[in-house]
């Protein structure tokens, strides 16, 4: 092996190592992230808020040993625009799992409550509702000491400054802050459960991925919550799959 060739190998090796190092060293895991709803010393583990090795949800397509019942709202209002009409009346399961918490609305059915896990320690588990549950960090979802949900976990409501406890926004144009919305309102959220478009304004998907962003569904062509978010990884903030510096995440798909 020539010296130059050796040097190339060395450089490449160092690059690979440094990349691995970044992934390993960065504080990127679910531990202590906002998705870690566990309380120090609590009986429920980090993973159990979503996953269980046994007795997981039997709903078709709910693959990742899901520890929650999917909520069964009948009506969703999906994102529409002059250039885009929603394709499915309800989100696909890949997104419904996220919305199980993030729709911000408690189901009328007790078994679908956000406070219910299918299986913890072999039995159904229900969180206490008195904000004193020893095993759950209530503040993960609630504004401290109140029943108010944290604003940025609610995808199902129109943004309403009152819920955040902040000052009312000067919304002088009637209609912007409220609208007649049926069921779970996803109209102010990026469309999900949509077929990834194939036209000149979108980067082409290759093998069910756009760059590193995964598509879902049987044909691996659907945009779902986890297309942009990795619920286990906080490396990029906001559980984003890649950094949005320079809007890099947006521009992964959008040719704008």
């Amino acid at each position: 092996m020539k010296v130059g060739a050796k040097r190339r190998v060395l450089v490449v090796g160092l690059m690979i190592l440094s990349m691995l190092g970044m992934a390993v060293v960065a504080q990127g895991t679910i531990l202590n992230s906002k998705h870690d709803l566990s309380k120090s010393g609590g009986a429920i583990g980090v993973c159990a808020f979503c996953h269980t090795p046994h007795f997981a949800s039997s709903v078709t397509d709910v693959k990742p040993l899901w520890n929650r019942a999917l909520q069964s709202f009948s009506t969703y209002s999906m994102y529409d625009s002059p250039t885009f009409t929603h394709q499915n009346a309800t989100p696909s399961t890949a997104s419904l799992m996220c919305l199980g918490c993030h729709d911000g609305i408690n189901s009328a059915a007790p078994t679908e409550s956000k406070h219910v896990l299918l299986n913890v320690g072999g039995s159904k588990y229900t969180f206490s509702t008195n904000f004193a549950d020893a095993n759950v960090n209530c503040n993960s979802c609630h504004v401290g000491g109140t029943s108010s949900l944290k604003q940025n976990l609610q995808m199902g409501w129109w943004y309403n400054p009152d819920l955040s406890g902040g000052a009312a926004a000067p919304l002088t144009i009637p209609g912007y802050e409220k609208n007649v919305i049926n069921g779970i309102n996803l109209t102010d959220d990026h469309p999900i459960s949509m077929v990834y478009p194939s036209n000149s304004q979108f980067v082409a998907a290759v093998s069910g991925k756009v760059d590193t962003l995964p598509l879902y569904g049987a044909s691996k062509n659907m945009v779902e919550c986890p297309s942009c978010h990795d619920p286990h990884n906080t490396t990029n903030g906001l559980f984003l799959r890649k950094s949005n510096a320079g809007s890099a995440l947006c521009l992964t798909c959008h040719i704008k």
Partner: protein, 706 residues
């Protein structure tokens, strides 16, 4: 290794090519990239690296479409702050009265853009930044700055600043309705929009497009994003199609006759120098600049109609050598300098009175209850006007055919079609009126027109002139073509008369403006003058030949430096030709006499066309007794037409026919002779020599004039 390097170089080049292509189309390299790392952009944040975030957010958007995050403008945008025009109003076009604020309302999409571009909301005022909610009213991205901004707000010093008054901006929130038409008495004018409308929110989302509010309105609407794609600056100014040759505008606007007109075909170079440097007219020739040579889609000085400058100044265009101003190249129809002359149409002296389609509103003006004011055709101080577009249609005008050859006062030859618009490229597509009289009998001799028919496109030149120079605009006169009009007389002591009344071919004599002399119903034989009484080119087709008003009226130096046409003149009545004075000599006080005529005075206006030989006035005739009589002792001083044969006026005539109320007219009865050389004393009853009742049925000969 060498090959490896070569491949590497090629690969890098390919990559660069792809990047540079993409770069021109991507928002990254446009002014809409307000992020810190934007290259070559004046206005940007000092810290924020995200690009999309200035407008969009993936969750909790408000309004939700299109995942909007920028704080919205609260500007009212009521009527009066939006584009409006008499043209749209008179077409019955559905003119928006506000910009909607809900996603299903017209105007809503444009409000998104205006939330920066009207200057009322800071560029960095977004609702949420990476999960952190902004304090309303305080830009969460507080360090957006650059030339054209103050305190993070877009200001008037930026060319993209529109402000909250959009009257000078292309209409938005307006439906696209190519079916709108306006009926004239003759012809119908369409709204001149492409019948094939641009697609409504096409996919892919490219090109000129329309938007359909969901509020039950089935029509596509024009919004900012019809012409602009905020993400794509390939065409410059984020336009969805190119500017050159009117490509963008003509996607929708299809002006009849435009493609063949001189303003679409001229290769004259654009002069953007001097006071036009700020106009940045695109292209290198008039044809390339196309619509944008005269119009400015935003913030032009001339409203409505998006004109670059106010009214006639759009045509003159300041110091530009390309247009019609004082600095224009002579070949470009230098019009502005003509208007410095004494007698003129008030294009440059009266402003703000012209309204589009005014020909349809001579008196009643607007629909009942409309509050826009009273503007139409008329001679009152509130409406009197004459703008370039009253006589010219800049979308149709051409330099061909040229009715007059260079250096010539008149056409090279004349015939029955010489009064038609088709003879002059300058006049097509201009509205006009055709006067009507109920029949051909003597009942309709020397009376006001009983009706007027409006024309979408004038067929005859006089139809343009009569819009104003008739009772259509002057109002009803009682007994003579001037009765009641004296109050309108010009400070230059020019009386306005009802010219339709005067050129009515039912009159006993007149100039062949509306039709040839053979068709003058009540004119006694011989109706026409002999060829020998006329000069070229008027000595051919006498009896069938017709003429323009502008064969007599025009600039005093039409054969020289002045642009042709009756824009303005230093001669009273804008009389043109070799002789330019009538009824007085150039001194302005001395009246022309028969002896002047016999001597062939070249200053004498009539002498331009009428020959002084072989007829009753001929030098050889035995008429020396009349040598010192004035022309206006026998003939009406306004020679458009007359109640009596051969433009004879009786002493009973009023001013200005009986010139200057000096009792100039002497004749009390007249009878046309069988030929120009057959006149006898008995044909003329005057205070000088009385003949037997020439004006009564007993006068004993054919054609005794009443």
């Amino acid at each position: 290794m060498k090959n490896f390097v070569k491949i590497l170089i090629v690969f890098v080049m390919m990559g660069t090519a792809v990047l540079s292509f993409a770069g021109s189309a991507f928002i990254t390299n446009t002014k809409h990239n307000l992020s810190k790392n934007a290259l070559g952009v004046a206005i940007k944040s000092g810290t924020e690296t995200e690009i999309c975030v200035f407008c969009h957010i993936p969750h909790g958007a408000r309004p939700s479409v299109p995942l909007w995050s920028h704080e919205m403008t609260a500007s009212a945008y009521t009527s009066g702050q939006l584009y409006d025009s008499d043209y749209l109003y008179r077409f019955g076009y559905n003119i928006p009265t506000t910009l909607g604020s809900l996603p299903n309302e017209a105007g809503y999409l444009s409000r998104l853009c205006l939330s920066c571009h009207d200057g009322t909301v800071a560029l960095g005022s977004i609702h949420m930044l990476r999960g952190i909610t902004a304090t309303p009213g305080t830009p969460i991205i507080g360090d957006v700055s650059g030339t054209g901004t103050t305190g993070g707000y877009l200001t008037a010093s930026s060319s993209s600043f529109l402000g909250t008054n959009l009257r000078d901006d292309h209409p938005i929130a307006i439906e696209y309705d190519p079916t709108k038409t306006k009926a004239f008495g003759s012809g119908t004018r369409g709204i001149e929009l492409n019948n094939t409308a641009p697609s409504i929110t096409p996919s892919p989302y490219t090109g000129v497009k329309l938007f359909k509010p969901s509020g039950g309105n089935v029509k596509g609407h024009v919004e900012c994003t019809s012409c602009h794609d905020p993400h794509n600056d390939t065409n410059g100014q984020f336009l969805t199609a190119g500017k050159l040759n009117g490509a963008l505008c003509t996607t929708c606007h299809q002006k009849v006759g435009w493609s063949a007109g001189i303003h679409k075909t001229s290769t004259v170079a654009i002069d953007n120098s001097g006071d036009n440097s700020s106009l940045a007219i695109p292209g290198s020739t008039i044809a390339e600049a196309s619509c944008l040579a005269c119009h400015k889609s935003h913030s032009g000085s001339g409203t409505p109609y998006l004109l670059r400058k106010i009214e006639e100044n759009s045509c003159f265009n300041g110091t530009s050598a390309s247009c019609h101003g004082a600095s224009a190249t002579a070949g470009n129809k230098k019009i502005e300098s003509v208007f410095t002359k004494t007698y003129k149409h008030p294009a440059t002296t009266i402003s703000g009175k012209h309204t589009n389609l005014d020909v349809l509103y001579p008196t009643t003006l607007y629909a009942t209850g409309d509050t826009r004011g009273v503007k139409g055709l008329g001679w009152g101080a509130d409406v009197k006007h004459s703008e370039c577009v009253d006589c010219h249609n800049p979308h149709k005008a051409s330099n061909t055919p040229a009715r007059l050859l260079a250096g010539s006062w008149y056409p090279s030859s004349v015939d029955s079609t010489s009064n038609q618009i088709s003879k002059s490229g300058a006049l097509p597509g201009v509205t006009g009126i055709e006067p009507g009289w109920a029949g051909t009998s003597t009942t309709y001799t020397w009376v006001q027109a009983s009706s007027y028919t409006t024309y979408e496109s004038s067929v005859y030149e006089y139809q343009i002139c009569l819009k104003c120079h008739s009772s259509y605009a002057l109002g009803t006169a009682s007994s003579t073509p001037v009765s009641g009009y004296q109050s309108l007389s010009d400070p230059t002591n020019v009386y306005f008369t009802d010219v339709a009344w005067e050129i009515n071919p039912r009159n006993m004599s007149g100039h062949p403006v509306m039709t040839g002399l053979n068709n003058f119903y009540n004119s006694s034989i011989p109706k026409l003058l002999t060829a020998g009484q006329m000069k070229a080119p008027w000595n051919i087709n006498v009896g069938t030949q017709t003429m323009y008003c502008s064969d007599c009226h025009g600039a005093d130096s039409e054969t020289g430096t002045d642009s042709r046409g009756p824009h303005a003149s230093n001669r009273k009545f804008m009389l043109k030709g070799t002789g330019q004075y009538w009824p007085k000599k150039s001194d302005g006080t001395t009246y022309w006499k028969l002896s002047d005529w016999k001597a062939g005075a070249t200053d004498l206006f009539c002498n331009n066309c009428h020959a002084s030989s072989n007829e009753v006035h001929a030098p050889t005739a035995n008429n020396t007794v009349h040598d010192n009589y004035l022309c206006v002792n026998c003939h009406v001083a306004v020679p458009h037409g007359a109640k009596r044969s051969r433009l004879i006026g009786y002493s009973s005539e009023v001013m200005p026919y009986n010139d200057n109320n000096t009792n100039a007219l002497k004749i009390q009865g007249f009878r046309k002779a069988s030929s120009p050389t057959n006149y006898v004393k008995a044909d003329c009853n005057t205070s000088c020599h009385v003949v037997t009742n020439p004006g009564t049925p007993n006068c004993g000969g054919f054609g005794c004039d009443p």
